[in-house]
């Protein structure tokens, strides 16, 4: 199971993972989801281990999700944010990472506004590096939790048709999900104006549409990306109003989706932009499931990377008797 992930010691991206790697993590996630449903959702699996969060970019949600996952596994946590450290004092990234390593971090969860930062870190530290989002590149645990949510709601992704709608150009979520969805056998269609697509999709396993209405009736899942106001100033769209009119999921469009389709969004949503408030509460929306599954998936990832020496089959995960009180 997940041999590549374990062998590399790092989770840098979906790029380079195999279908078996992905499925292995998703299978293991089931076990941790079960732990999360217990009255006291905590196991001693990573007692004595330290997980450091190194966030150069604001992301309260992702950071809390990782820290919750680490604590449920009884790991110690420490948090570095750009504002509270010496990062603004001209220290090189390498210096920062070496210092964190010297505090005894076994894993570093890193979020950075620039692509490839997690890859750079992995070359400078003995700790496991987990990419929690690097610029417009990848956000692999988001893709894992999305796949897990889809599998939970709809079963196997094989043969599913998934539309990813919005700012694909600037989205690490989209890059990781395109890879993950297609690895698991789903067909991916990107729906966006040309300015919000990557400059080149040569080699991407996707089709492209600029017409959301025509795509909706055939989708098993509609994945809406967060739209940011900055894109107007960058000359990528004329206005949020026009974007919402052309690419927002409102009640009319939601009615075009099949009854068993699911609606996903990585959060936080902009009500009235990517989707209307009405659609956010549609029974087909799984946005809150994504959030809770995020903790379970991240537990599985931390356990896989840090729990070396353990038998990695789900059965070996500590049982009730070992719950820390």
């Amino acid at each position: 199971m997940s041999t590549a992930v374990v062998a590399s010691r790092h989770l840098l991206g979906v790029d380079g993972m195999s279908r078996q790697d992905l499925e292995g993590i998703l299978d293991l996630t089931d076990t941790f989801a079960e732990i999360g449903r217990r009255p006291i959702p905590k196991v001693p699996a990573l007692r004595g281990r330290t997980v450091a969060s190194l966030f150069f970019e604001d992301s309260t949600r992702t950071r809390l999700s990782f820290e919750t996952a680490a604590r449920r596994l009884s790991a110690d946590t420490m948090t570095f944010t750009a504002g509270s450290s010496s990062l603004s004092k001209g220290e090189s990234l390498r210096d920062t990472v070496e210092v964190i390593g010297s505090y005894g971090a076994d894993a570093i969860v890193v979020r950075h506004g620039m692509a490839g930062t997690a890859h750079r870190l992995a070359g400078w530290t003995d700790a496991c590096v987990i990419n929690a989002g690097d610029g417009c590149h990848e956000h692999p645990t988001q893709a894992l939790l999305d796949c897990y949510t889809l599998r939970e709601k709809r079963g196997d992704l094989d043969g599913m048709r998934i539309g990813i709608v919005g700012d694909i150009r600037n989205s690490r979520v989209a890059r990781s999900n395109v890879l993950a969805f297609s690895l698991l056998g789903a067909e991916v269609v990107l729906v966006a104006p040309p300015t919000l697509l990557p400059p080149s999709i040569e080699g991407w396993p996707v089709t492209v549409s600029h017409d959301l209405d025509s795509v909706l009736p055939d989708l098993d899942a509609c994945y809406l990306l967060r739209m940011q106001r900055e894109r107007i100033g960058e000359g990528l769209i004329p206005s949020i109003r026009e974007y919402a009119a052309d690419y927002g999921l409102d009640a009319r469009r939601a009615a075009m989706l099949p009854a068993d389709a699911v609606i996903l969004h990585p959060g936080p949503t902009n009500p009235g932009v990517e989707l209307t408030t009405e659609v956010a509460t549609d029974p087909r929306s799984v946005i809150l499931d994504q959030v809770s599954n995020g903790v379970s998936v991240r537990m599985a990832v931390l356990f896989l990377l840090l729990g070396s020496g353990l038998d990695l089959t789900p059965d070996s995960v500590p049982s009730d008797g070992e719950v820390v009180r």
Partner: protein, 430 residues
């Protein structure tokens, strides 16, 4: 003291011949012939004896960033790479845009192992707003003006500088060369590598090839309007090469250079996210590399330059986006040209020696044929010796070579700068 290079094969613009070369006290070639002997005899057996190389594009970082490179260390690296003249870019701190800084660079250069040719900025502080004192600088002998590091954006000011430069020809004794870093900043803004399949996959914001090409196109039009001599720096795209080819065919006074990295590396190298591969203009595609090689072969491109751009380890230990662009080049340039340009030795020498010497206005003493009476700016190279690239082993305090660990062919054995043996048996002196 006389120096004799013994047992080598001379290759220059006159052809090739097996002769010894004697250099006299005056730094000039005293005689060329068989079985010569001097006060110092340097073994050139198994080697070629060639005119020293001239690099039209070097960042020596002094004054301002002496932790990354100095004129002394840069010249040492140059001499080790077979260069006898380096054209120093003016993006120093303070900018080389006035007599005082030109004088400082020249003075420091006089104590170094290569001839240092100062250039000056076209605009004050390279800010692209006011013309630098070109007349005063021309009177000091500055023959190349450039805002390298960025392109001059304002087309109206570019036109005026071109027009103004044509009035300085008599004072300089030759046409002033304006060297342009072609990049329309508003189109490249926010990009850190070539825009294409790789940038899209890696999530690194890209710079489209058109950011370079639009300025090449603009400047060709302005050359047609003004008659100024425009030298295009580091051409990197297929369309740029094609446009310069067209301009030359139309008889316009344009010249061009290409860097070693733009004909040996592609944007695929950025997949490592290692900013040692970050450079401006960025590494392009296989098609662009092929076009640059074709431009070198057919005479469209006049010179191989290095754009040698040292950066400290510290400054490259950053994410790709935030690290400074640039790579070392002086010590690897000739070997890479030999292995990857697809050109024969005389072709490489034209591009690395006498053609750039002419553009730099130093053709009277660099790139000259190896005959009695000429200045002894020479290098002796073992074309068969292999060596392994190591940034740490280089003369520069920086180590940002993108060729780390590569084994290359062709090693400089001796370099003579104005008759002085500055590199002997692969070791720099002084």
């Amino acid at each position: 003291m006389t120096v004799v290079l013994r047992g080598g094969r001379v290759v220059d613009s006159h052809g090739e011949r097996e002769v010894d070369v004697e250099i006299g006290d005056d730094g000039r070639i005293a005689s060329v012939g068989d079985d010569l002997s001097g006060d110092v005899n340097l073994d050139a057996s198994g080697c070629v004896v060639v005119p020293g190389f001239v690099d039209l594009h070097v960042h020596l970082r002094e004054p301002g960033q002496e932790d990354a490179e100095t004129i002394s260390s840069g010249a040492r690296g140059g001499a080790l790479g077979g260069f006898t003249a380096l054209v120093a870019m003016p993006n120093t701190d303070p900018t080389t845009d006035c007599a005082a800084v030109v004088e400082q660079v020249r003075r420091l250069g006089e104590r170094s192992l290569c001839e240092i040719v100062p250039t000056a900025a076209m605009t004050v502080g390279r800010r692209g707003v006011d013309m630098s004192p070109m007349g005063e600088l021309v009177d000091m002998g500055v023959g190349i003006f450039t805002d390298d590091g960025s392109g001059l954006q304002d087309p109206r000011l570019m036109r005026r500088i071109m027009e103004y430069s044509t009035g300085l020809t008599a004072r300089l004794g030759r046409p002033v060369v304006l060297a342009q870093h072609c990049e329309v900043a508003e189109l490249s803004a926010g990009g850190f590598m070539h825009e294409g399949a790789w940038s899209s996959r890696l999530g690194i914001p890209g710079q489209p090839a058109e950011a370079e090409e639009l300025m090449v196109m603009r400047d060709i039009a302005l050359v047609r309007l003004t008659g100024a001599h425009m030298h295009f720096q580091h051409l990197s795209t297929a369309s740029s090469v094609a446009m310069v080819r067209g301009a030359k065919a139309a008889g316009l006074p344009v010249t061009a250079e290409a860097t070693t990295h733009h004909f040996t590396l592609t944007d695929a190298a950025c997949a490592s996210y290692d900013p040692v591969f970050k450079v401006h203009p960025p590494l392009r595609t296989d098609d662009d590399v092929a076009a640059v090689r074709k431009g070198l072969a057919d005479g469209t491109i006049d010179a191989i330059a290095t754009d040698h751009a040292p950066h400290t380890d510290h400054s490259k230990e950053q994410p790709f986006d935030s690290a400074p662009p640039g790579m070392l080049g002086l010590e690897t340039a000739f070997s890479l040209a030999l292995e990857e340009s697809g050109l024969d030795l005389p072709g490489i020498l034209a591009l690395m020696s006498w053609q750039p010497a002419a553009i730099a206005g130093i053709g009277d003493r660099h790139g000259t044929p190896v005959v009695a009476g000429n200045h002894a700016n020479l290098c002796v190279i073992d074309l068969d010796e292999t060596w392994t690239v190591s940034g740490r082993a280089m003369a520069s305090p920086s180590s940002n070579t993108p060729y780390e660990g590569r084994t290359l062919r062709g090693r400089v054995r001796h370099t003579l700068s104005a008759g002085e043996p500055v590199v002997v048996d692969g070791e720099a002196r002084g």
